[in-house]
């Protein structure tokens, strides 16, 4: 089973990289660009075939390592 983990900065956490990207887009001539936030995508291949167990495992992986829950939120997507 393949999973995709999306890690984003939490609301209320300063994201200077996102701000810099927004500014660069505006400089490139794109109008109407509002807030930009930058996160990361981590793809994980799991031997576990059971969806519910896989989600449980990934949730634990996120809390323990893949995301720092002080400053980041995460979302898990299973790719069948």
């Amino acid at each position: 089973m393949k999973a995709r983990v999306f890690v984003m900065p939490k609301e209320g956490v300063l994201d200077p990289q996102g701000k810099a990207i927004a500014h660069a887009l505006q400089t490139l001539g794109f109008s109407g660009v509002g807030e930009v936030r930058q996160g990361k995508v981590i793809e994980v291949e799991l031997a576990e075939a059971n969806e519910s167990r896989a989600r449980g495992l990934l949730d634990e992986m996120c809390r323990k390592l893949l995301a720092n829950t002080v400053i980041e939120s995460y979302r898990v997507e299973l790719v069948t």
Partner: protein, 229 residues
Amino acid sequence: MQAAIVIFPGSNREQDVFDALHRASGKKPLKVWHRDNALPKADLIVIPGGFAYGDYLRCGAMAAHSPIMREVKASAAAGTPVLGICNGFQIITEAGMLPGALLCNKTLKFHCRNVHLRVETSQSVFTSRYETGQVLSVPVAHHDGNYFADRATLDRLEGEGRIAFRYCAPDGALDEAHNANGSARAIAGIFNETKTVLGLMPHPEDATHALHGSLDGAPFFAGLAEALG
């Protein structure tokens, strides 16, 4: 005082802190490899600066899970002083030994310069040779030194006197201009509840020799040597 310095792949300031501790205590610190399962008996454990695991994923994220960190946490819980400098501060917060996190500098730039720090409390083994309010000139060298914690945590840290150092102007005043990385409440370093674990972004070990251009870090290590024997 027998100090032990934990070294990860990518640590690069271990020799600087080794020299500072050796000069202050007369005793050579022990160097501990991160894969070791046991810590030697030590009066002080140091997590030095650098780029452990290349800062991959997040600064300090993977180092925080190295086998040796289980022992470091246990030692800290038993009251052994632990000092995390720069990357060491990042590792210690990722390991949950101190609250909050270190974000990217608000300027998005790597800051490599001397800064002024204000000593917020002299009531700890780390700061006993300073006066509260004393201003120090100490180098920083970091890209991700922007301290973040939620408001409740920040209020608790202040209420419990656990802010160790703040970035300040040469006269000790706090303002945005002298908090270049954007840290919450200009926080440069914090203690745990018992003030036996200190994490700080600046490098006091690089202000202990005439050639460093500042000797303001010397009392830091002299105080430790005095307090920890």
